[in-house]
Point group: C2
Chain length 158, copies 2
DNA sequence: GAACGATACGTTATATTGTATCCTTCGTTG
DNA sequence: CAACGAAGGATACAATATAACGTATCGTTC
């Protein structure tokens, strides 16, 4: 079917394997449409808004794509841990720590827009402790630090 | 003028004093419209969306209020530290630690919607350290933990 | 292979959240 | 009062996200 042969951003074997593995673990189906969205995000390697992503996909596939379609694919990618959603900017970013599913923390540069995904078990432990002290049962934690990345901080010193 | 005499939610002296103090510090003007929005939020003491707030104010004042108006008042309240914005739910909550301006962390109950504002200097220090290790210059940190509050966690044990 | 239920996809419309623009009003200051 | 800048109001619009409904595809069972 023509639809499924639509152009897709190139996707390194590494990422395809990762996606296949996650789907196998979680009993999810890895369809061409889902893979196309993932590939498009990986082609940028930066945080994109849902509507930016729609634009990119429409350009690549030369057809209209409804918002709902992309939101469903994003839901899937987030469910499987392949993509994170940045709450403070309402953007989406492919996971950069593909070894295992995880909680992440993010450093967002307000100058260049770069996002650094970090993992600190110490931080997670501390958050757990804080919640526990208050009888709160944590499910997941959003940690997003805004500021200047190293490169931008240096530039600013003029 | 009739407009300024419109009904306003009752506002305890404590909060009015706080608002006056913050405005004096920051050279901001505490107008009746601004105070009315603050009072409306304090009357709920829970996180509300901007449009919920518009509805509440329209009902109270018996007139139409444009979104931009409320967003400007929210900007003011956030600038002065009287209100926080919860990034993960796009809602707004009056500050519960009025002693000084601060970074906060939030525990959001996904069952009852209650939000607990906590302050942990340990957490702030750790976040600083994490950023520092990566050459990142932090400006502000969003920390929002979703889960079940004590009361809801107990209920769920049926 | 046919029937079936579950999951995924497509289409249209709509809800929710947030801004741009332009003009008016208010409060201060000279 | 005149001039100025901050605040407020009205209208329109942009950006983000979901609802509702039907169709297609996949995987299983018979
Ligand atoms: Zn990750
Ligand atoms: Zn930067
Ligand atoms: Zn606070
Ligand atoms: Zn609760």
């Amino acid at each position: 079917m023509a639809r499924q042969l639509a152009r897709t951003a190139p996707l390194a074997a590494k990422w395809r394997k990762l996606a296949e593995g996650r789907c196998a673990e979680k009993g999810e189906r890895l369809t061409p449409a889902r893979l196309a969205v993932y590939a498009e995000m990986l082609a940028r390697r930066r945080a994109v808004s849902a509507y930016e992503l729609i634009g990119l996909l429409e350009k690549r596939q030369e057809r209209k794509i409804a918002p709902l379609t992309v939101y469903r694919h994003l839901d899937f990618l987030i469910r499987t841990g392949l993509v994170h959603r940045l709450q403070s900017t309402q953007t989406y970013l492919p996971c950069d720590h593909p070894d295992q599913a995880h909680e992440s923390q993010f450093l967002l540069c307000s100058s260049c827009g770069n996002v650094d995904e970090v993992e600190s078990t110490g931080l997670e432990a501390l958050l757990s402790r804080i919640a526990d002290e208050r009888g709160f049962r944590p499910d997941n934690a959003v940690v997003e630090v805004k500021g200047l990345c190293g490169a931008c901080a240096v530039e600013e010193q003029d």
